[in-house]
């Protein structure tokens, strides 16, 4: 049953008939650069949406500014292409006032983490019922190639000819620090994995942050190649699965160190019982946070993908609706005449 699978969509009307990916395509010409990773993400999302089983008209995509933020124009749902960095705020107002909608935010590393960083962290701590897809290409694309808040230190770009000076954000560390209840990472080119993460995000009640490593083939080509190439990915990529030991390639596993951090070791008979078993639902965020720190920021070696954290916490829009219901139950539906009159009046005959 859809209802059981997507509790976050409990209040969204169900579709009467099956939908196909085609139903979610618009007549607008897609205008990303040829070869952009955005195409693969768009195709994956369009293919995934029918699975939700909700009415198309009750789906809304809200975006900010940047290459990724053109996304809503290509989704045959309701949509708003807003202003730089503000999509989470706008989507919060929409989701908080319309529990019958499935609201998605599409954003990029500059949009979400630079100009819109404030809105992102506050959406996460509030736990509004939003699904935030953060396309991270570690570069500014639309403004033609300046370094972004996720670019590696020392990045040579047009605005940093001698190398960038500011340390990058780790988006997932940031999200966990901001009390996020759902944090995941996936990769544009891995359709199957991407879809599985979208599914988990859709199932989550509250704000879901999905970081999607996305290739900008014009300004930062190959940024994630090490995670994609058959020759390197087995040594670089860690696939997280809830309830399963966390392993890298055939020989290595993730272990907890004495300092509480995580590290990789060659798995032996002696230590194999101590391999960390992934628990996305752990109430304590410490292990999930440690997982976000596992990757080497420069080489991307030991990069975990999948759902790092998925926990339950009261949802902002639900709480807001409950307060309204409770106020009406306690005091009765608002009576305008009584409100205007108040308690302290006098009459002139």
């Amino acid at each position: 049953m859809t209802e059981d699978r997507f509790p976050s969509l409990r209040l969204v009307p169900k579709s009467d008939e099956p939908q196909s990916p085609k139903d979610f395509k618009t007549d607008q010409e897609v205008r990303w650069c040829p070869g952009c990773g955005d195409y693969a993400i768009l195709a994956a999302v369009q293919s995934f949406m029918p699975e939700l089983g909700i009415r198309r008209e009750n789906t809304v995509f809200v975006s900010g500014i940047g290459c990724s933020s053109r996304f809503p124009y290509y989704m045959n749902t309701y949509g708003m292409h807003s202003i730089h960095g503000r999509a989470p705020a706008i989507a919060t107002g929409l989701a908080a006032s319309r529990p019958d909608l499935s609201v998605w935010v599409v954003t990029g590393d500059g949009d979400a983490l630079s100009i819109g960083g404030n809105h992102l962290i506050h959406a996460l701590r509030r736990n509004v019922n939003l699904k935030i897809l953060l396309f991270n290409n570690r570069i500014y694309g639309l403004t033609k190639g300046q370094y972004s808040p996720t670019s590696e230190l020392g990045k040579i770009t047009k605005s940093t000819p001698m190398g960038s000076l500011d340390a990058p954000f780790n988006p997932l560390s940031l999200a966990i620090g901001a009390e996020a209840t759902f944090v995941a990472r996936t990769i544009d080119s891995d359709r199957q994995h991407l879809t599985s993460v979208l599914r988990a995000a859709a199932e989550h009640e509250g704000t879901a942050l999905v970081e999607i490593y996305q290739n900008c083939n014009i300004f930062n080509d190959g940024a994630f190649e090490v995670l994609k190439e058959p020759g390197t990915r087995d040594e670089a990529l860690i696939r997280l699965e809830h309830g399963r030991p966390i392993r890298l390639g055939a020989e290595q596993g993730v272990f907890r160190g004495p300092d509480g951090g995580l590290h990789l070791e060659t798995v032996t008979e002696a230590n194999q019982d101590r391999i960390l078993v992934h628990d996305a639902g752990a109430a304590n965020p410490a292990t999930a946070f440690a997982l976000t720190r596992l990757a080497d920021a420069d080489t991307l070696h030991h990069t975990p993908i999948g759902v790092l954290r998925d926990v339950r916490r009261p949802v902002y829009d639900t709480l807001m609706a409950e307060q309204l219901d409770r106020a009406a139950a306690d005091r009765g539906e608002g009576d305008l005449a009584a409100l205007l009159t108040g308690s302290d009046t006098w009459t002139v005959a």
Binding site: E57, M75, L324, A337
Partner: protein, 651 residues
């Protein structure tokens, strides 16, 4: 102890002398045989340290005055700091109340009575007092140290420097402590009731009813009955002190005003505005969504609306000003009546989102409670210097309609008017109030809820093209409004955004001719908004000078006009409630007078617009002191304008 009335609003040209003679006191049969003098109006200012409870004292006196049936107008004036250092000039907080037996328009130019709780309060307010005014001081606070704190080397209560005033030296603290000696309260707690002692004394002096205040104190301190009883005891002790002490030889009576028949309550601008928003939601059938970030002097609206969730009102305290308006715009996309409330600095932050709302053509109310600027400026003081920001403060050609209430009570109708424009024309609308309207209060004739304007909105639910498709920018030929189709409506899925859109389809368009057309169309939509004609008050029909104002200057301008007319001068008056677009008859009105005077609490922003649009030689009169104009000051300006014209005529 005779002159209690100044000339600020002498409608009848009287010299302000009260009609004296004993009259039966209201509400009490036990009053001793002290003379009672009848006055037609009084201006009282309560002043003390920020922690002395002067705003509460003023509020209570106002409530009793409203309940008694006087017309009234108030001016709270307090520092931005919550607790400035005690006893210093910056820490002085005051509350001025003007009440009368007839229709009045301002909180008054100069107080007849000053209650000064400490030397700082006396020093900060002395310059505003006319000769002969009464001063009631708390002598307990006039210590050497307290005097030194405000730079007084000699005690003004003793050195004769206050000879021009009628001074009442009252040891308010001592008397309060004596009255509460059996209360069991610690000295510090008992001392805090001294403002209620002062209130009791003033209530005796002006025959205010007392049961409302006693009821109020019992309910305010319901959980601390000993504090409630102590405050009531101090309040009664103050009343009895007036009754028995020989220092207060006379009490005063101000008859109720004869207002139009109806049921009244006292209301402040921010409360009226909050009610207007709830009423607009109710009358439009839309849920109200407020996205806001706390800022003085607008926060009261957030607080008030948060109390009314049983009206389906959602209030969202955002992480910043931008998120506040963003959430309101998101809610508007979803079919709510979206509102954001702020003051000038907040508007600056919201500008980009207001521009987006112009481009999206969604209804949105932007409420700006103006305060002194630039930057942080004077957070708790009034000004009307955001007009040009509201008019032009966005990138590109981004016209936004502007509505401005003239009085605290009018904030209610202004909210309904702003909502009407936003919903009918699918546009963001500015509502420009200010700190003076927000915190000031006046009697309000409570409207019939069922007779408020019908703001019913019809969402678009059907395709609007012959081929069964939906164009989000296909406009209504009359209003030029685009359809409002909200998510959840099958078949009308569409995408909107801040990039220029093709006329009709709403698809992205970079076509030069289309952009030119869309810019002009958005402007034409705002220019075409139906607003009421401006009404000119020109009783003789022969005035040559027109005084034109907007916003909260209505009170002092009208009071000044009355004064000029009472003294035989001829002046016409008009007041703008719609500033974008201007009323259709405004050009003709301006052209009908030899001289147009525009008083503003800015450096001439409306005058600039009038000059640009109508090629009229509008003369600015400006003040940016953080305080409203005084009627006497504006009357002088009007007399000068009339005089200059006469002189020019003779040349």
């Amino acid at each position: 102890m005779t002159s209690q009335v100044d000339q600020s609003e002498a409608v009848d040209g009287s010299d302000g002398e009260g009609r004296s003679g004993p009259v039966p006191p209201p509400g009490t049969g036990t009053r001793a045989a002290k003379p009672i003098r009848r006055l037609d109006r009084v201006i009282i200012r309560f002043a003390g340290d920020s922690g002395d409870g002067m705003q509460l004292t003023g509020d209570r006196f106002t409530s009793e005055t409203a309940a008694f049936g006087n017309d009234l107008s108030t001016l709270p004036n307090f520092p931005a700091e919550i607790r400035a250092p005690a006893g210093t000039l910056p820490g002085v907080s005051s509350f001025q109340l003007h009440f009368a037996d007839h229709d009045i328009l301002t909180p008054g130019d100069a107080p007849n009575v000053l209650v000064a709780m400490n030397p700082a309060a006396l020093k900060a307010n002395l310059a505003d007092l006319p000769r002969g005014a009464e001063i009631i001081v708390n002598t307990d606070e006039f210590t050497k140290r307290a005097l030194a704190k405000v730079g007084w080397s000699a005690d003004p209560l003793a050195d004769g420097s206050l000879e021009a005033y009628h001074l009442h030296k009252v040891p308010l603290t001592t008397l309060t402590l004596q009255a509460l000696k059996d209360s069991g309260l610690a000295r510090k707690d008992a001392e805090r009731a001294k403002n209620m002692f002062a209130l009791g004394l003033l209530s005796w002096m002006y025959h205010r009813p007392t049961h409302g205040t006693e009821r109020f104190l019992r309910s305010k301190f319901a959980k601390k009955p000993d504090i409630a009883e102590a405050n009531i005891a101090a309040f009664r002790a103050g009343w009895n002190f007036g009754e028995t002490t020989e220092d207060f030889a006379v009490s005063y009576e101000i008859a109720p005003a004869t207002l139009p028949p109806g049921t009244y309550r006292n209301i402040s601008g921010n409360l009226a505005l909050s009610y207007g928003l709830i009423a607009a939601a109710k009358r439009s059938g839309l849920p109200l969504f407020l996205g806001s970030y706390p800022i003085t002097p607008a926060s009261d609206i957030l607080h008030e609306l948060s109390r009314h969730k049983n009206f389906g009102v959602r209030t969202f305290q955002a992480e910043d000003e931008i998120a506040g308006i963003g959430a309101a715009l998101g809610a508007a996309f979803g079919g709510a009546l979206g509102v954001t409330t702020t003051s000038g600095p907040g508007v600056a932050l919201k500008s980009e989102t207001i521009g987006l709302a112009v481009s999206l053509e969604l209804p949105l109310l932007v409420v700006d409670i103006q305060r002194g600027g630039p930057s942080t400026g004077l957070p708790t003081k009034t000004e009307q210097a955001d007009l040009l920001q509201a008019m032009f403060g966005r990138n590109g050609e981004a016209p936004v309609p502007i509505v401005a209430p003239a009085t605290p009570a009018e904030c209610f109708t202004a909210a309904l008017e702003a909502a009407r424009i936003a919903l009918t024309y699918r546009t963001p609308v500015f509502l420009l109030s200010d700190g003076y309207l927000a915190n000031g209060s006046e009697p309000w004739k409570i409207p019939d809820a069922d007779e408020l304007p019908d703001l019913t909105v019809e969402f678009t639910t059907e395709p609007n093209r012959p081929d069964g498709s939906f164009w989000p920018y296909l406009r209504d030929p009359q209003t030029l409004a685009r359809p409002w189709a909200v998510p959840g409506t099958p078949g009308l899925e569409h995408r909107i955004g801040g990039i220029e859109k093709q006329d009709g389809t709403g698809n992205i368009s970079y076509d030069p001719a289309n952009h030119d057309f869309m810019v002009r169309t958005r402007q034409a939509k705002v220019d075409g908004i139906a607003v009421p004609d401006v009404v000119v008050d020109d009783p003789g029909g022969t005035a040559r000078v027109l005084v034109l104002g907007w916003g909260s200057t209505y009170g002092p301008i009208t009071a000044a006009v009355r004064r000029v007319r009472a003294d035989g001068g001829e002046v016409a008056q008009a007041h703008l409630r719609n500033l974008n677009p201007f009323p259709a008859n405004l050009g003709a009105v301006l052209a009908g007078y030899d001289k147009v005077i525009v008083p503003e609490m800015n450096l001439g922003q409306l005058a600039l617009l009038l000059r640009a649009k109508y090629l009229v030689d509008a003369q600015s009169y400006n003040q940016v002191r953080g305080l409203p104009f005084k009627a006497a000051q504006l009357a002088d300006v009007l007399w000068a304008a009339i005089g200059n014209l006469d002189e020019e005529g003779r040349r």
